[in-house]
C-alpha cells in the first residue's frame, strides 16, 4: 500500500473526508500511479486544479431558509498571490458569514482558523483544495470553497 493510499484511508477513518471524497482521492492516486507506469493518462480525467490562481468562497442561503435569521450572500474570488502576501481572507467576509465558512471548514476536517491562515496552514489548505472542493451546509447556508 502506498503512503498516499494509507493517508487517505486514515483521513476516512478519522472522519475528515467522506466516503465519496476518499473514493475520488483513491482514484486519483491510482491514476497517478498508472500514469507514472505509462499505462494511462491521469491528467485527462483528473479533476485536480493545477496551478490555481484564485480561491473562491461562496455562501448562499439554502432554499426555504428561515427568513427570521440573517441571510448572507457571499461570493469572493481572491487571488492566491494576495492571500500568500498576507491578506486576511476572513477580513473580506462579514462576521457571521465568516463563522459559517469557518464552520464548513471544520466540518470537512480543516482545523485551521481562517482569520489566522498563514504559511504552512495556508499551503495545506490550498493543496487540499486542489484535490477537493468544500461543499457544506451550515446554519441554513450552503458553503462552497474551491480554487480555480
Amino acid at each position: 500500500m502506498t503512503s498516499e493510499r494509507k493517508q487517505i484511508l486514515e483521513l476516512l477513518a478519522a472522519g475528515k473526508v467522506s466516503v465519496e471524497e476518499a473514493e475520488r482521492l483513491l482514484q486519483l492516486t491510482a491514476g497517478d500511479s498508472s500514469a507514472a507506469s505509462g499505462t494511462g493518462s491521469a491528467s485527462a480525467t483528473s479533476p485536480r486544479v493545477s496551478n490555481p490562481k484564485f480561491i473562491r468562497i461562496m455562501v448562499e442561503p439554502v432554499e426555504g431558509a428561515d427568513s427570521k435569521q440573517p441571510l448572507h450572500h457571499v461570493n469572493i474570488r481572491v487571488p492566491l498571490k494576495i492571500v500568500r502576501a498576507g491578506v486576511n481572507l476572513a477580513s473580506l467576509i462579514p462576521g457571521e458569514a465568516g463563522q459559517i465558512v469557518q464552520g464548513s471548514l471544520l466540518e470537512k476536517g480543516f482545523n485551521s482558523d481562517i482569520t489566522k491562515l498563514s504559511g504552512s496552514a495556508l499551503d495545506e489548505l490550498i493543496e487540499a483544495l486542489q484535490e477537493l472542493s468544500i461543499d457544506a451546509t451550515v446554519d441554513n447556508h450552503t458553503v462552497k470553497v474551491f480554487v480555480e
Binding site: 490562481k53 484564485f54 440573517p70 441571510l71 450572500h73 457571499v74 461570493n75 487571488p79 494576495i82
Partner: protein, 87 residues
C-alpha cells in the same frame, strides 16, 4: 503582468466604476520624474547602495498590484451590500 484596468465598487445604493487604466500612465510618469531625485538624494546622502532596494520595492509593489487583477468581493446581507470587482 498587467495591472487591473477597471475597478467597480458598489456600497449600498452607491456604485461607481473607476478607470484605473487612466491612472497607471500618470503614475509611471510621476515615478519616472521622481526617481532621478531619489537617486540624487541617495548620492548626496552617500546611500547609493540603497537605490537598488528602492527599485526592488517598486517592482514588488507593481507585482502585488498586478496580482489584484481578478479580485471579486460580493457581500450581500439583509443590512448591507458591498461589491468590488477588479477587472
Amino acid at each position: 503582468m498587467i495591472p487591473p484596468m477597471v475597478m467597480w465598487i458598489r456600497f449600498r445604493w452607491f456604485a461607481i466604476w473607476v478607470p484605473l487604466f487612466l491612472l497607471w500612465p500618470v503614475l509611471v510618469v510621476l515615478w519616472l520624474l521622481f526617481i532621478p531625485f531619489v537617486l540624487l538624494g541617495m548620492l548626496v546622502a552617500g546611500r547609493i547602495s540603497r537605490f537598488w532596494k528602492v527599485i526592488q520595492l517598486t517592482l514588488a509593489a507593481y507585482v502585488m498590484v498586478c496580482a489584484l487583477r481578478g479580485l471579486r468581493v460580493d457581500v450581500r446581507s439583509d443590512r448591507t451590500t458591498f461589491q468590488i470587482h477588479l477587472i
